[in-house]
Symmetry: C4
Subunit: 216 residues, 4 copies
């Protein structure tokens, strides 16, 4: 099967989104880019992740043409393609409707960085991309306006985009963003959360990128 | 088995209600109408969904007489029948006690449309039907007073009714309503959620009805 | 095995408490009384419900002597016995630490009846028993001071006691109390929940006792 | 396999952290000390607990040298070692990012003891250790400044450390701390939670240590 491992990685991440409550039913979407061919593996539109096999993941080229797969690709495919074109370093993109993160997106309010979780895995405070309609290829450009070197941003009145140098890396950012958003939400109802100083955010970020895990 | 597929679809939706926490134990009910015969498949009263087989789903005619099945139909059967009679376009009805949505129902307060989720899948803000006692066939009429072209409404001090052109469509509305209610709740504790303009709601609605998924 | 069915019913209810998040790890306890013998089946102290077999449920007589079983009975056994002695109509008792209900218990504040859920299955507003130390047989008397004809009450700074004419009935009360407590909590953060008039509570109560389910 | 039972206990506790939502993905860490050898079994850095076998748990000596195991030990290993050196009575240490507890850590605010849950299993109010960067071996000393005879403390802007005379005991403290933190959070949004008097905390603490469960 063409790009079988990448397809499996995309499907596995989609299943984790369901498990962690970042999407419900057929919501959200996941893609990964193969660095060799430049092809992108992306979830099909409006299908239950739990009923999918790796072969149901659609393979498209950088222009959005289907290379392999029998289903229509995600309704947000053009936004994924836009981000991949702008950022050669990004190989995984995940879109969710994570509830705590979305509550900030509904207020058009960024999430300040008050926890090592956000510092480590998202790279600091979480910015908000301006509102754009869905399915009009306008999300990608709005994301690029605010993303900078972060691993995630909010979409006003809509959801979340998380990115990474792999599908797994984008998944970690998506899960940890929701974790961090929940804790910040809970704290902010009781008082004024204490922000981390920029140098501590930087330090925590580097731990995650260079010390944590088995690969370094 | 009479209307086996419809019975399976009703049972499968009931199991999703449990999974997504929209009902607990034997709460809520689900029905679907067969367009050919006009018969309705509905969950039995007060039974654990997880112990049911498709044959346990009761088949009734439009007057509420049992056509097939050994159990007593849902205590809210007359309300389902009322809605089906008024709305030939509706083929699926789901009643839940979704906690975030119910918290608005307890305040007799509609949920404003501040997210693409509510716009896409419920059709905008969520109205509240006036309080009526349970098991007196008064819920159906109260729902019809406020439903309009939406896919769901709240029942004051009680719960949620979601509808659709299929059981699956009603399920999507029920799940996404709770999602949208939760995000709106969380946001409203921290500030004033930004409402979507009517033209954006319309656009988002059309994406879900005509672009999203594999069928179009 | 002595009272095998009752033991199974007690264990099954204990597993549901875990599932619905009403207790964690080995918290809470469940008992049922056999009307013929007057014996009581009760969960053992501090053991994982998921590792138990029906034989691990302890059988005691009305004085608390072990009739069958190899484990020490629940630390709250004397409180169960007290309630059974006072109330011949009660055959099932469940103690939980349900988080939303406990948040009212921590404020020594009753939960008003603003939903058909509480009216149907708990019988109206939920009273609070005064604080008493654990493991001193003082909980039972405190519960009887406030329970009246309700199916549940809160224990100040501690938890919940739910009762019923069967273990299943007590389980329904425990699960629905937490449901109702959660919805009331969420609503009360946003405004003033609308209370149900006493005659509507009475009506809803009767539906649950006489119309709902398959047995009547 | 060297210290097979201890490794199993560590892995089993790590899986419970995932189940109860105290960590997500590869977050947190768990260790246990073998009293005979003084060796410590600890989770590897950044690996999915659900994919681990007992052999994947790393065995280190008191100086942090790997005795058995092929993976890099947790990024917080030095902090575990520091605590074990200071406290010969502690044989289990667990680090989590439990969301409700973390919301207090983000405010640098201790959790008052208003429930038998916190009194029984954590030993009273929950103190906050000052902020320290991760992966610099500074967490251990900060914890020891505030822990006293409690079974858990918060880490400012970061997480939770729970300890016990066994891995299981530390797990109970971690789970019950989050339970207690959630209830206190919910109550504090609605009013002023009623604190338990010190003598009641002491009494409740002793029940858990000496009366509860099967071992005494």
């Amino acid at each position: 099967m063409l790009l079988e491992n990448l397809r499996k990685e995309v499907l596995s991440a989609a299943l984790q989104l369901i498990r962690y409550g970042l999407v419900t039913l057929t919501g959200g979407n996941v893609s990964g880019r193969d660095e060799q061919t430049g092809y992108i593996a992306i979830t099909p539109s409006g299908m239950d992740y739990e009923k999918l096999n790796p072969a149901d993941i659609v393979i498209i080229d950088g222009a959005g043409n289907t290379v392999d797969g029998k289903w229509k690709a995600s309704v947000d495919t053009k936004d994924h393609l836009y981000i991949y074109r702008q950022r050669p370093d990004i190989q995984g993109i995940i879109h969710t409707h994570s509830p705590y993160a979305c509550s900030f997106a509904m207020l058009h309010r960024e999430i300040p960085c008050c926890s090592t979780t956000l510092a480590n895995e998202v790279g600091g405070s979480v910015p908000v991309a301006r509102y754009t309609p869905v399915a009009e290829a306008a999300i990608g450009p709005a994301v690029m306006e605010v993303l900078g070197d972060k691993n995630a941003c909010l979409l006003a009145n809509h959801g979340v985009i998380a990115v990474g140098h792999s599908v797994r890396h984008a998944l970690v950012a998506a899960v940890m963003l929701e974790d961090g958003a929940k804790v910040y939400h809970l704290a902010s109802l009781k008082g004024e959360p204490v922000q981390l100083p920029p140098e501590e955010i930087e330090k925590a970020r580097n731990v995650f990128l260079y010390t944590y895990g088995q690969s370094s």
